[in-house]
Subunit: 390 residues, 2 copies
């Protein structure tokens, strides 16, 4: 298949491209290096060294014996999106090219609006390019489990049957996100659902949990590393905790730490995204998949990192709760469905301790980098702070 | 009170400003004349003559003995919004400054993206300006009944108590809109709900039905007219039907015409918006009001216009169903709640035939203008057409 990965230079994109080429697909990618630039702006960097795209593409070709055809450009530009579709004529397209950080979207009004516009317009351009140029294309769009928030009822996969005053209907499961970033994913989901109603586009909308991990089965060689962020803006909970332990810093859950979220390893994320490709929805189907392995409390993850780090190194990592910069429930019911990907063949690796062990080993080789980044790991972006125009 | 009306030059804005000044408020307004410009672009015009804003402001002052303080500018510019808030320090702000046409948003990708960006960014700017400069301000935001779509269950006002697998929660009522425009209102509602959670802003989110009418109790004088659009892009169902009858053209329901929607007169809309102001939500409350008088099928409205026009003039208007340019259910359950505004004191005028009679009289005086606009009244904007980049 011809597979186009928008955001191919990113954490998931670069790992996914490697899986796809191994599976025998023709892989095309696009990126505008938004994440590289924005990570530098907060004084941070990927802990695992990643070379410039030109070098990456050479290493990719050397290792896999096949090229990744790369286009530099911004998918919020309709013309760039249309040109991509005309050149590539993809059978499937992964949209991973959105602003992907919740804290970034909360820095202030400028970043909030930038996140709204980038994410919504890129998805709109994708919808129109698909229906105008290649209406059979399978769109695989990254959303987030965070779209649902933490309701006091079970979370269905996209839709649920509801009874209200004695009548029944199947309706979109109510969303209740917790940052401007998360809301853009809700807006995208709504727009994609409507695009499907208008033009019968074939869409998989992935409600993904928090991804952790330094590596996948394909990444055998440090030249093939994907990026790995640990700062408060671009790093996510478990990745940050492991880096804190390795750097000899306290592990810092936000608030009480009883918040529960769905998590999955990078390996599992890539496997699930590949399953979505290999088991596409039917013609004209809009499909929502809740994509995660298990849900954990933040405290459980902090304690597990501490324990595994202790077993491996003999050193004791401390856990220090810090004031929660976010606006979120710290004690809540959480029971999201996640059956559909399993029915399609997803076998969760289910080895959290093994995954953490591997991450610690990988990061130990970049301990100085973790230390260098210790200044950017603590939360500064306050949800209720978020300034506007000064 | 100091009341700021964003979009004061529009259909509802100009009528609302007159109500507010009569009620003794200090009225401030802003507009960038987006609607005037875009209506001209589709070769159309307001049937009722409206002078330039400079003239409008003079007539306003002459009639009411008080000035409307006007600021020209674009509320998608954060600086303009902040400056407005700093200068006016409003006690309440009505946000009527969004792109308000469903067909316009479906013309093509350019207009779809423009609608997304305009509407979402203007509301984000409003949220931030409010919380930074005047966090006690009451935000009254125009949404639409179209946010809900036509589910097979009763429609609650914003939130509903849902039971799912034996557990209960009160959640946002699922939205399922029918055009990009309607979806931007959903996105706005979601963003406002979240802003309320972050900063306890006091918000009334108005899910308004389709507004019809040429006049209100305040508009005694043709110099005080508000605009009145009848073309396929900027006119809405009932307004268009009356103009068609007056011009001697067939009345053209889309498709089968069994679509049901909530409707209210311009007079009632202004009264409801005034009630929202006089009976504000509590501190830190996000309140959703379903604002309409009654729901009717499109066919019932077409037939009522035909009948009233016949009684008044002795002439027979024809009804000709045209192919539905939209993607919507033409036979569906519809039973939206609308109790809250009534509890706050809204007494619906409930005189549809009288309202239509008045509209016919008003439009008869501008029959040539209706005739002139006959070329733009038939639907050309096809929901499934909507082209992208050529």
């Amino acid at each position: 298949m011809k597979v186009l990965v928008l955001g191919v230079d990113g954490y998931i994109g670069w790992a996914l491209a490697q899986k796809l080429v191994k599976k025998g697909h023709e892989v095309y990618g696009a990126d505008n290096f938004f994440t590289r630039k924005r990570v530098r702006e907060v004084g941070s960097d990927s802990v695992l060294p990643i070379p410039p795209i030109s070098r990456r593409l050479l290493d990719f070709r050397a290792h896999y014996g096949k090229s990744l055809v790369f286009y530099r450009g911004n998918v919020t530009n309709p013309k760039f999106m249309y040109d991509l579709f005309r050149k590539v004529k993809p059978d499937a397209v992964y949209h991973l090219a959105e602003q992907r950080s919740a804290p970034y979207s909360m820095i202030g009004l400028k970043q909030a609006n930038e996140t709204m516009v980038n994410n919504i317009v890129s998805t709109m351009n994708l919808i129109y390019a698909a229906k105008d140029i290649n209406p059979d294309v399978h769109i695989i769009k990254l959303g987030t489990m965070g779209e649902y928030g933490t309701p006091n009822i079970d979370i269905a996969e996209g839709f649920f049957e509801v009874e209200f005053r004695g009548r029944r209907d199947t309706l979109p499961f109510p969303r209740n996100a917790g940052s401007w970033y998360h809301w853009t994913k809700v807006h995208d989901s709504n727009n994609l659902m409507f695009a499907n109603r208008l033009w019968n586009l074939r869409i998989t909308d992935v409600m993904q949990g928090v991804v952790y991990g330094t590596s996948t089965a394909e990444i055998k060689d440090s030249r093939l590393f994907t990026r790995f962020d640990i700062d408060e803006v671009w790093g996510t909970a478990l990745n940050r905790f492991v880096a804190q332990a390795v750097a000899g810093l306290p592990i810092t859950p936000y608030g009480k730490g009883n918040q529960k979220r769905g998590f999955l390893s990078l390996e599992d994320s890539i496997n699930c995204l590949n399953i979505a490709l290999e088991k596409p929805p039917g013609d004209g189907e809009y499909r929502v998949l809740n994509q995660f392995d298990q849900y954990y409390s933040v405290n459980f993850l902090a304690e597990t990192v501490r324990d595994v780090y202790g077993e491996l190194t003999g050193n004791e990592a401390k856990i220090e709760h810090v004031r929660n910069p976010r606006v979120e429930s710290e004690d809540h019911y959480y029971n999201p469905d996640h059956a559909k990907l399993r029915e399609l063949g997803y076998k969760p690796s289910g080895d959290l301790r093994g995954d953490i062990r591997n991450m610690i080993s990988d990061l130990m080789e970049h301990k100085e980098k973790c230390l260098l980044l210790r200044k950017v790991v603590m939360p500064k972006t306050l949800w209720r702070g978020s300034p506007g125009v000064s």
